[in-house]
Subunit: 250 residues, 2 copies
C-alpha cells in the first residue's frame, strides 16, 4: 500500500457512536406513558433492532429483497412487535416511534472523542441510517461530522462493498486514506476487504447490561480502542505501530 | 401552503458563500509563480468560471450532454484557457489548478452568518460543486454545515428540478420547510417552482470590482438580504413579514 497519511475516518453510528438501546427504551417508554408501565422495554428494543433493522437489512444485502428505506423497515415490523410486547401504542403513533431513531443519545465519550479526532481528520458517518436520521441525530447530539454519508446514497446497505466504495468515491479518496471505525467486526471485515483501514471499538453495553461480551478483535484490525477518546489518543500518538502497514505511520 | 416553521436552509455556494473569483486568482497566481507575472488572472478566472463551469453545466441541464463530474468540466477547458491567457502552467499542473476550487475563501460575513443561522435551522449547501469539493472547502473555511448536499448525489445540476427535489427527499422535508439562499435569481426561481422558500443575497463583488450590478430581486422572493449576517437578522426577527406566505411566520 502507498505510504500516505490517514485523511478521513468513517463511523458506524448505531452502537458505535450512539446508544440506540437506551435511546429507544427511554423514548418509547415516554411515548407510551402510563400504557407502557408493564412493558419489558429492553426486550422490545432488542427485538426491534433485530427484526426491524438487522434482519431486513441482511435480506437487502443478500438480494433477497430490494433496497427499502430504513425507516420503512423499522416501521413495517411495529404491528407485530406492538402486539407481542403489548406496548400499548396505536397505529397512528408508530411513525412517532420510528422517529425516535433520529434522536438517539451519543455514548458519553463520543462527542469529545470526535471533536479531538476532527482536528486532524475528516469525519463522517457511514451508516445504514437514513440521511435524514443521521443529519437530525448529529444536530441534536452535537456530533461534529464534516459531512453525512448514509448508505441510502448508494441504494445499498453495509456490509455491501458498494457502500464503502461509494463513500470513497464521494470523498475522492483512496482506500488506504480512509479508516472505518465500528463496534461490529462484520462491518470492519467488509471495509478491510475494500482496502480501508479499520478501528474496532467494542461497545459491551450495546445490547444492554446483560449482553454477551463483544466479539474479540480480528488480528487484522489496525486499531482496537475502548472508546472514541481512546481512539483519538492512539491516532494522535506518533509512535503508534500500524500493525499491517508500518510504512503508513504518520 | 401549510403553516409550518422553516426547518432547513440550503445554500448555493460558489458566489453566495465563497468568493470563488478571489480564491481562483490568488491560488492560480501562487501556483504559476514567476511564470504568471504578466497574466490577467481576473480575466482568466472569469473565463474559467464561464466556459469551464457555467456553460458546460447548462449543457448538462438542457440535456445537450450527459452528466459529467464538475471537476472534469473544470479540467477539460484548461488547455484552451492556458493557451489563450498564457498562464504558463503545464498539463501536469492542471489537476492542482482544478483543486483550487476545493480551497476557496468564504465571504467575510459567511462564517458568522452561518453560525448564527445554524442555531435555529439545519444548514446545508445545495451546490453544483462536487461532494468532495464542498466537504473539503467547508472543513478548510470552517463553514458549519449540518450535512453536505452536492447535486452530484442526483446525477444532475441546478437549476434542474431534480436537484431541489432530491435535497428535500434526503432531508425528508416538505418544500415549505426549506429555503434556498442564493446570489443567483435563476437558481432561486427554479427552487421556488419546486415550492421552496427563497432568500436572495446579491453579491456585487462576485465577478470582481468592475462587474455589472447584480440582477434586481424578483418580487416573489421571500427575503432579500445584503449578506448572511443580515439574513440571520431577518430570519431571527419575529416580526418579519413573509411576503407570499404570511401564515408561515414563526
Amino acid at each position: 500500500m502507498p505510504d500516505r497519511p490517514l485523511k478521513a475516518l468513517l463511523f458506524d453510528v448505531f452502537g458505535t457512536v450512539v446508544d440506540w438501546r437506551r435511546g429507544v427504551i427511554e423514548a418509547a417508554r415516554a411515548l407510551a406513558g402510563r400504557r407502557g408501565e408493564d412493558v419489558d422495554w429492553g426486550a422490545f428494543a432488542d427485538a426491534w433492532r433485530q427484526e426491524g433493522y438487522l434482519e431486513p437489512i441482511a435480506q437487502v444485502v443478500t438480494g433477497a429483497r430490494p433496497f427499502t428505506p430504513v425507516e420503512e423497515l423499522l416501521g413495517e415490523v411495529l404491528p407485530t412487535l406492538a402486539a407481542r410486547y403489548r406496548i400499548g401504542l396505536k397505529t397512528n403513533e408508530f411513525a412517532e416511534l420510528v422517529s425516535v431513531w433520529r434522536r438517539l443519545p451519543a455514548w458519553p465519550d463520543a462527542k469529545g472523542g470526535l471533536e479531538r479526532l476532527r482536528r486532524r481528520h475528516l469525519l463522517a458517518p457511514l451508516s445504514n441510517g437514513s440521511f435524514a436520521q443521521l443529519t437530525e441525530m448529529a444536530k441534536r447530539a452535537g456530533l461534529p461530522w464534516d459531512c453525512v454519508i448514509s448508505t441510502e446514497l448508494f441504494g445499498a446497505y453495509k456490509p455491501d462493498a458498494a457502500t464503502y466504495r461509494g463513500a470513497l468515491g464521494l470523498l475522492d479518496l483512496d482506500p488506504d486514506e480512509v479508516m472505518l471505525v465500528a463496534a461490529h467486526p462484520i462491518d470492519l471485515r467488509a471495509a478491510a476487504a475494500c482496502g480501508l483501514r479499520t478501528a474496532y471499538v467494542p461497545r459491551p453495553e450495546e445490547w444492554g447490561p446483560a449482553a454477551r461480551p463483544p466479539a474479540p478483535p480480528d488480528p487484522g484490525f489496525d486499531v482496537v480502542a475502548t472508546d472514541l477518546e481512546a481512539l483519538a489518543g492512539t491516532l494522535d500518538d506518533p509512535g503508534f505501530d500500524w500493525p499491517a502497514r508500518p510504512e503508513t505511520r504518520r
